[in-house]
């Protein structure tokens, strides 16, 4: 729903006209109003209950290959005009004359309906959830010595208007809940983490039970108390469905962002139409898939979110694009222009990135692996898009011996090279799961989703300390 209450359309038209008064090819006003609540429970105490409110506008002016940008917290017409002038400073040389912009409002469907606005739920109810999670986690094992739990919700209303006449908006509600447990035993301390996060309101807790989240975090910590050091060296790896999606986020997701492509800083540059992965790999980025963490109605340039097939049966089909990179290549944006807030310029970002399921039985994949590592849960990762080298951390893993999952392993990173690891995927399961994450790029964080079925990579380097 477009919220014209943030700034009136006729004001936006005049500000856009002013932004281009000194010349320039494109101008945009991005208005944002975000309210959030955060509660953290630690040691059975509500350590922090905080509320935040941000409201402002970012204005950019594009002149040739140069972008000028300024932002302000002053949403009055003079405030916006001043920001427009600052952004237009890059166009000082050109004489633009009078530019008239006429906005046409468009509406994009929300990925899902919000049933219960978190702002309408009492803070006491939210606190109650955290206390319950603490109770549940501690009830799972006497070795749980520490529980912390976090709750967060945000409502982000945005309005985008640009000199092409676009006027669009979104009202996006996100809710998250996470639990971290510390277990203590003879071998020291171990941690377990689990999170539930969706682009929904308070109905998050109808979709994901607090009990499951807390129990899962506790189980991970306790399991690792008996873990032995992970092997070191190259081993076959089976990755359970869900959090393993971070593999694709790092191994190729970032490298398929068009800003890296237009600057020739990705290993995937110039490889459209080529086989860049095992034929079992079909990879999709889709901002419209239901309540997932990276879903949205429009991106932060006002373009409706869409489904983009990136790799089909191993062949590179397309990259992800924002407005600027698309314009350079004379094509349309793919709805991947995102920004952390009105204080940031948009750039190419992923939404929900996932591998489509295959035909193999997940249990068979393990049974047919004589020796290797089973990764049940992955943490974050990092990639160098130019070389393709990437790492990701295992936070729950086991040895596979004679086709059976056996002993738990301590945390370790895995390292691989994107195109190499993608070519070594030799089994893709028929199951599927999605997982929330926070993606950082160039100092900006945005919520994303990752997903995959159970799969096997014939060889990845594991950074443990035990001889393989």
């Amino acid at each position: 729903m477009t919220d014209t209450a943030l700034v009136e359309p006729d004001v936006l038209e005049r500000v856009l006209g002013a932004a281009l008064a000194r010349g320039g090819d494109f101008a945009e006003v991005f208005v944002e109003d975000r309210k959030m609540t955060g509660i953290s429970l630690d040691d059975r105490r509500v350590e922090e209950l905080s509320s935040g409110h941000d409201r402002g506008a970012g204005i950019r002016v594009v002149v040739g290959d140069t972008t000028g940008f300024a932002h302000t917290t002053d949403l009055s017409e003079p405030g916006l005009q001043a920001a427009a002038e600052a952004a237009a400073a890059v166009a000082r040389e050109g004489g633009g004359g009078t530019r008239r912009v006429e906005l046409r409002e468009s509406r994009a469907a929300a990925p899902n309906e919000i049933r219960t606005l978190p702002s309408e739920v009492a803070k006491a109810t939210k606190v109650e959830l955290l206390l319950r999670a603490d109770d549940i986690a501690r009830s799972k094992s006497d070795s749980i010595v520490q529980v912390s739990a976090g709750y967060g919700d945000s409502r982000r209303r945005i309005l985008v208007a640009n000199s092409d006449g676009l006027l669009s908006g979104d009202d996006c509600v996100r809710t998250r809940f996470s639990v971290v447990c510390v277990a203590s035993g003879d071998t020291g301390m171990q941690t377990g983490y689990e999170t539930a996060a969706l682009t929904v309101g308070f109905e998050l807790f109808d979709l994901r039970s607090i009990e499951d989240v807390a129990a899962e975090a506790a189980r991970r910590a306790v399991t690792k108390l008996s873990a032995r050091p992970a092997p070191v060296g190259v081993v076959p790896v089976v990755i359970k469905s869900g959090s393993g999606g971070v593999l694709f986020h790092e191994a190729c997701g970032h490298g398929l962002e068009a800003d890296h492509i237009v600057k020739d800083s990705s290993v995937y540059t110039g490889r459209l139409g080529e086989l860049v992965a095992s034929p079992l790999v079909t990879l999709v980025d889709d901002g419209t898939v239901g309540p997932n963490w990276g879903s949205m109605a429009i991106d932060d340039e006002g373009r409706p979110a869409q489904r983009n097939v990136l790799i089909e049966n191993g062949v590179l089909v397309d990259y992800m694009w924002d407005g600027l990179s698309a314009k350079k290549k004379g094509r349309a944006s793919s709805g991947n222009g995102r920004r952390e807030s009105y204080q940031h310029l948009p750039m190419v970002r992923m939404t929900n990135t996932f591998l489509l399921p295959g035909a193999d039985d997940p249990e068979e994949i393990v049974a047919e692996t004589p020796h290797g590592v089973y990764v049940a849960h992955l943490g974050g990762g990092q990639v160098n898009t130019a070389t393709g080298d990437f790492v990701f951390g295992m936070t729950e893993a086991y040895l596979i011996e004679n086709g059976r999952i056996t002993e738990p392993l301590r945390d370790a990173n895995l390292i691989g090279n994107g195109p190499d690891v993608l070519s070594k995927i030799d089994a893709v399961g028929s199951d599927f799961d999605m997982c929330p994450g926070t993606c950082g790029k160039d100092g900006q964080s945005v919520p994303v989703g990752c997903g995959q079925p159970t799969l096997r990579v014939t060889g990845v380097t594991i950074g443990g300390t035990a001889d393989a």
Binding site: E48, S50, V90, K123, K263, V267, T387, D389
Partner: protein, 449 residues
């Protein structure tokens, strides 16, 4: 524009003293400019003013917090009202409370350069362009300069409490950053370089460009090494990253909650005798230097590890009360949007005697680690497990040999500290909260072929 401290004090005057209510207001405002050039042209020029207020209220042992990204009376009112409402839902905590003046005088630090405010945009653009030009000209194998950035920030903040704190600080910072790709017929490698300072005079274009060029080109032809157990020589930047992690485990808050591998180990030998670790935000050469911490108390020099022995932890007011000790002036806050927490600002090892090349020569055989990746996913500050991606150069017969990549190095933080062999003399303050120097550590697992 009213003075920030007046705005902050005005909020604290609303505290209901008779009801035992304590109020803290943290206000900040700043102006940032950032410029990115690409292929000899300005790609992005961004200028922005930002301002905000964060209000903390403590009443009956309960704390509430709220922030608003604006600086006017309405914003202050909204933040105070919300923070008070949040108090009612918090849990009673006997240790809750704001900082009180503790008699320690704030160090006189000069962190402000008036000339940065008047430094013209065209000169900033020229610096970024010159950096890009020097990197491109630095080596024929540099095939792309992905970005060359200049950025600066002028910021002031003030903190006042109804318990008697009233402090203001201001600082200027600027930096250059360049990211380059080197390539030959069959390989691509990357490197970045930077320079930081308080005014443009501090910026060293030559050093930033040489770093980016060297780091990218010397890795060309890198291969995946065989797995082994060896001595690693950590480059300055890598050591700074490691110190940042160690500092987080020395937070008194984490220690009290049993979430630190250093809990209950005061007085024990936790590292090699060459190791002395200090957090000293009063050292004005540190990038994170500040006279006043995130609660308005004076910062001070804290020795955490002395000759390998664990001497103490870092505390803010709350963590200090829990541990029945005083704040060490170590409250940090990430701007007006967050409450203070415990953290280091200027952590460094006392430098040793040897330069990096002397250490390489003394080590004989091993690995020079130029950069690490996956630190946030591969290091567990509770268990101490350490496993990160790495790239660098092998050390053979006391000299740098072939480049290596796509490998991991792994150990535990506990073992790494005990196995330190050499501490370098090449101390350098890096952006962030730690100083780098070359550090040689024995018996680390290298994961490769």
């Amino acid at each position: 524009m009213p003075e920030l401290i007046d705005l902050a004090e005005a909020v604290t005057r609303h505290a209901d003293d008779r009801a035992g209510e304590e109020v803290e207001a943290y206000v900040s405002r700043g102006r940032e400019t950032s410029i990115r050039v690409f292929e000899g042209e300005v790609e992005q020029l961004s200028s922005a003013d930002s301002a905000g207020i964060g209000v903390r209220v403590v009443r009956d042992g309960k704390q509430g917090f709220a922030w608003v990204g604006a600086l006017d009376e309405a914003a202050a009112r909204e933040a105070l009202t919300e923070a008070r409402d949040n108090v009612s839902h918090a849990t009673f905590d006997e240790h809750a409370g704001l900082a009180r003046p503790d008699g320690v005088r704030a160090a006189a630090l000069d962190l402000w350069r008036e000339e940065l405010a008047g430094f013209p945009t065209q000169s900033k653009v020229a610096l970024a362009l010159e950096l890009e030009r020097q990197v491109r000209a630095g080596d024929s194998r540099i095939r792309q300069v992905v970005s060359s950035d200049y950025a600066d920030a002028i910021g002031e903040s003030a903190i006042a409490t109804s318990t008697g704190i009233s402090e203001s600080t201001r600082r200027t910072t600027c930096y250059l950053f360049v990211y380059a790709i080197a390539g030959d017929s069959d390989d691509t490698q990357t490197g970045f370089g930077y320079s930081v300072g308080r005014s443009a005079d501090d910026l060293d274009v030559g050093k930033a460009s040489a770093d980016a060029v060297d780091r990218a080109t010397r890795l060309l032809g890198a291969k995946k090494p065989h797995s082994s157990r060896l001595t690693v020589v950590l480059d300055q930047r890598v050591t700074a990253t490691l110190l940042g992690i160690i500092a987080s485990t020395l937070s008194g808050e984490e220690v009290s909650k049993g979430r630190s591998l250093f809990a209950d180990r005061l007085g024990e030998e936790v590292g090699n005798g060459q190791l002395t670790l200090v957090d000293d935000p009063t050292d004005s050469s540190a990038f994170g230097a500040t006279p006043v911490d995130g609660e308005g108390l004076a910062t001070r020099r804290n020795e955490l590890i002395s000759g390998g022995k664990l001497m103490g932890y870092l505390y803010d007011t709350h963590a200090g009360r829990v541990a029945r000790t005083n704040s060490t002036g170590s409250a940090v806050r990430g701007g007006y949007r967050t409450t203070p927490g415990v953290g280091a600002r200027a952590i460094s090892l006392l430098p040793g005697e040897l330069t990096q090349s002397e250490i390489i020569s003394a080590v004989g055989d091993g690995l020079l680690v130029q950069s690490v990746s996956g630190v946030h996913s591969g290091v567990n500050p509770v268990s101490g497990d350490f496993s990160v991606g790495a790239e660098g150069l092998m050390i053979r017969n006391g000299a740098l040999a072939e480049p290596v990549r796509e490998m991991t190095i792994a150990s535990t933080i506990q073992r790494m500290l005990l196995h330190v062999r050499h501490v370098g003399s090449d101390l350098d303050w890096l952006p962030g909260s730690s100083a780098g120097l070359t550090l040689a550590i024995d018996d680390v697992s290298l994961g490769g072929e």
